[in-house]
């Protein structure tokens, strides 16, 4: 800890804290524009300069580490004058005319800074220079005329998303923000995560979907969770007049720390599927709108006689994108007294069954994504994380320039090839041989961190080379890199888990122990799971394969999920199909009864992400009039069939051992 004095106030902060942060802790506001708490301090805008005793010139407080005994002033006349001058310079530099700017009136940090300094005008003549506007991007516009060159976007693109698309071209007053080698943003390497828009302090990067629909000052953001995938990013939902205006990453989010990917930020904004607004029942071959009473009656009438028939009765399937409340109710309804033949999820346990079966015996062994923050090597097996779980991918990509190495082994060619230090292609189905081979090489070369007896190492290596089709030298290289790392992390995806091999998972676990990825204090072994509630579905045991075998009816709870063509093909074989969904799809077209339900934003619910965080999504929108909560619909069906169900999901998910610590 160091003690310093700011404006006469004694403050104690941990060593390495900047003066700007130290001041904030003490409740002293120092205006700034280029600083952002998630980004490396830059010291460019010069708004935060302070006077420090012993220094000839004032110093930017955002980059200045507090030192013992430092005496700082932030409100001298010279500093106040300088701040106004700097703001005048910024305002007059480019087109910073407020009345026709989207962010004016609350969202603009430049304008807010001027208010803070009580400026009624800027005394300098504007520059009237024209700078390029780039509107080629599908989601946002880059207007260099509104830019104050704080480089937050450039830093966010590189430091947070690890993408390095944005940079600065030219020098001095001619500086502009560009993508790649000055190509249109829409044709650049941009991965459309929108982090740059979220950090932009002015209207230089503005969002198309939320343009002129109101700003944060008028709309209270609601904290919620994204259901795009199993990462479980925390989001702020901006809603106005029952309409989603914008989605922003929550900087306090425990998993994403403010980041979102294209899907999380923009998919819900560009939803184009047709909403189902009334219960439908097939009559004379046609789906016709009916009352809820009639629809639920039809379902209960059809299903009730099939209760208890564990063979030719009902097959029930639920989406892993549904909240755990719904999944739990679904399980209670069909797996309980009803004894349906199949009760599973749309993932059929492809991403979780083997992992949870191993956990059943071993207890929790998976870690938290946070381990990536300190990892010096990441091994990705059977997963294209950068594309399948983009925000987790950012955590990897942004660590690469800081020296983390990446090894990818995948049956599919090209996976992570551009990013990885070593990308190998193994034969499909050879993963067990691969993992055993890697272990054998490490043991043979004496590189293991923990003792492991492998008497048949030579044979295992031979077998690995034969089965994987990877030359020995490459396998050895991968093994040495893995064993040489101080804090390695192993991530594996569907390519591994879909094999449903407990042996493979156990083998991976022992590799992780051998190389020190899993140690007493550290768990650097994580499976990526599938959709938002894969983990919850697994905890509820909804992980059996879905194979229809003469069942008379199928109940499909889809919610607002997308339905794959493969699933549709299998489901429509059923003689009677009940679909509970929010949007029209090929599946609902084929259904006998369609029950319209809420989307993720229209009902409260919990989601358990890939590393076991139980997070709540809030109800922020009111759905169309005839649409009902997906949990309530299941409850009513149960009631109509006279089968009482408990509604205690928290209890339900504790019935199975989790593969990771839940929190």
């Amino acid at each position: 800890m160091v003690q310093l004095t700011i404006n006469g106030k004694q403050i104690e902060v941990p060593e390495g804290t900047t003066v700007l942060r130290a001041a904030a802790q003490a409740g002293i506001t120092i205006p700034t524009l280029c600083d952002h708490k998630e980004l490396t301090p830059y010291g460019g805008c010069r708004l935060c300069i302070v006077e420090v005793q012993g220094f000839r010139v004032p110093i930017a407080s955002c980059t200045l580490p507090a030192t013992q005994g430092m005496v700082v002033s932030t409100e001298t006349e010279a500093l106040k004058k300088s701040r106004k001058f700097v703001l005048s310079m910024l305002f007059s530099e480019r087109n910073h005319f407020c009345p026709f700017c989207q962010v004016s009136g609350g969202d603009c940090e430049l304008q807010n800074a001027a208010y803070h300094e009580e400026m009624t005008h800027w005394p300098m003549q504007p520059g009237w220079n024209n700078y390029p506007v780039d509107s080629t991007h599908p989601y946002f516009v880059l207007d260099n005329n509104r830019c104050i060159l704080c480089r937050r976007c450039v830093r966010a693109c590189g430091e947070l998303a690890g993408n390095f698309t944005l940079s600065v071209a030219e020098r001095g007053a001619a500086s502009i923000i560009i993508a790649d080698t000055n190509v249109p943003l829409g044709e650049s390497t941009c991965i459309k995560c929108g982090t740059c828009v979220q950090v932009c302090p002015t209207g230089a990067l503005i969002d198309r979907t939320s343009a002129y629909q109101g700003n944060e000052a008028q709309i209270t953001p609601v904290k919620s969770v994204c259901v795009g995938c199993s990462v479980g990013c925390s989001v702020n939902l901006l809603v106005r007049d029952n309409r989603l205006v914008r989605i922003e990453g929550d900087w306090t989010g425990p998993v994403n720390h403010g980041l979102l990917c294209e899907h999380g930020r923009y998919d819900p904004m560009t939803e184009s599927r047709q909403r189902i607004t009334s219960p439908l029942v097939r009559k004379n071959g046609q789906l016709e709108p009916v009352s809820w009473d009639e629809a639920l009656g039809a379902v209960a009438d059809k299903l009730k006689p099939l209760a208890g028939d564990a063979h030719t009765g009902v097959a029930a399937i639920a989406s892993t994108r549904l909240p755990v409340e719904t999944l739990s109710m679904f399980k209670e309804l069909f797996a309980g007294e009803f004894k349906a033949h199949i009760v599973t999820s749309t993932e059929e346990g492809m991403t979780t069954a083997a992992v949870f079966a191993v956990a059943e015996r071993m207890g929790a062994f998976e870690g938290k994504l946070d381990v990536l923050r300190t990892a010096d090597l990441t091994l990705c097996l059977g997963a294209d994380i950068v594309n399948s779980h983009m925000v987790a991918g950012f955590l990897i990509k942004r660590a690469l320039p800081k020296g983390m190495r990446l090894v990818s082994i995948n049956p599919q060619a090209g996976v992570l090839e551009d990013l990885a230090d070593l990308a190998l292609v193994n034969q499909p189905g050879s993963d067990l041989s691969l993992v055993e081979g890697l272990k054998a090489i490490i043991v043979k070369e004496g590189l293991g961190r923990t003792p492991l007896a492998l008497p048949n190492a030579a044979r295992l290596i031979e077998e690995a080379v034969r089965a994987t089709g990877i030359p020995l030298e490459k396998l050895t290289q991968a093994a040495r890199m893995l064993a040489g790392a101080i804090s390695p992390v192993i991530l594996f995806g569907k390519g591994i888990t879909a094999q449903r091999s407990e042996h493979l998972i156990e083998s991976l676990h022992s590799l992780a122990i051998l190389v020190g990825a899993v140690e007493r204090e550290r768990a650097g072994l994580i499976s990526m799971k599938g959709e938002a509630n894969s983990t919850a579905a697994a905890l509820l045991g909804l992980d059996a394969p879905f194979v229809l075998n003469g069942q008379q009816a199928v109940f499909a709870a889809i919610g607002d999920d997308y339905v794959s063509g493969r699933l549709v093909k299998r489901l429509v074989k059923a003689p009677y199909l009940v679909v509970q969904a929010a949007y029209q799809s090929k599946l609902t077209e084929q259904a006998d009864v369609v029950l319209p339900v809420s989307t993720w934003a229209e009902q409260e619910g919990h989601y358990i992400n890939l590393d076991g965080r139980v997070q709540k999504a809030e109800k922020v929108l009111t759905g169309p009039e005839a649409v009902r909560d997906s949990t309530a619909v299941l409850g009513e069906i149960a009631m109509r069939m006279n089968m009482p169900v408990r509604a205690d999901w928290q209890q339900a998910i504790r019935e199975r051992k989790p593969s990771m610590a839940l929190n």
Partner: protein, 180 residues
């Protein structure tokens, strides 16, 4: 003691700031009580008293030689000059044409616009004032108080006029300070 005299005029603006002034509703009576409202676009007197006024209010930026005259005259005759609204304070919307230049703006409006008949020309009657770059008032004559806003709220205008009429210095901050 005689009531202080207030005069106002508009230049390159949209009259919105004067509309906002009227938005103060019955409080305008209070202003009238405190001050003597002289030449304004509302009262329809054409120019501020030659003998001078205490407070001169100008709306709009300066974008031609006629506006320059208005500004200079108001400055010369008013003890205190108030720039009212974003156009007067910053140049505002009309100042956007500075990014392309007067010539290009006139050409676009009078020659190239889709609604123009073929053969249209930029008006060149010598009686017309000469177009210039659009400027904030403080770039042409010294301004005592800048009151930003597009338009400034009636509350803000009332506050400023009432303070000035009572010989106090208005201070714009917090809720009274808005640039848009």
């Amino acid at each position: 003691m005689a009531k202080p005299k207030i005069a106002s005029d508009w230049m390159c603006g949209c009259a919105g700031c004067h509309m906002s002034l009227l938005d103060m509703d019955e409080r305008i009576l209070k202003v009238a009580e405190l001050a003597d409202l002289r030449a304004t676009p509302i009262t329809d007197l054409k120019e501020p008293d030659a003998s001078g006024v205490d407070v001169g209010v100008l709306e709009g930026g300066i974008n031609n030689t006629a506006n320059e005259e208005v500004a200079h005259k108001m400055r010369a005759r008013a003890k205190i000059l108030v720039a009212l609204g974003d156009c007067a304070v910053f140049g505002g919307v009309p100042a956007m044409r500075n990014f392309c230049g007067v010539e290009a703006a006139l050409k676009r409006a009078y020659v190239e616009a889709e609604s123009n008949e073929p053969g249209c020309e930029i008006p060149n009657d010598p009686e017309l004032a000469t177009m210039t770059q659009t400027r904030a008032i403080h770039e042409v004559v010294p301004v005592d108080y800048n009151v930003p806003g597009c338009p400034p709220d009636a509350d803000v205008i009332f506050y400023v006029l009432a303070e000035l009429a009572q010989g106090r210095k208005p201070e714009l901050k917090d809720d009274l300070l808005h640039w848009h």
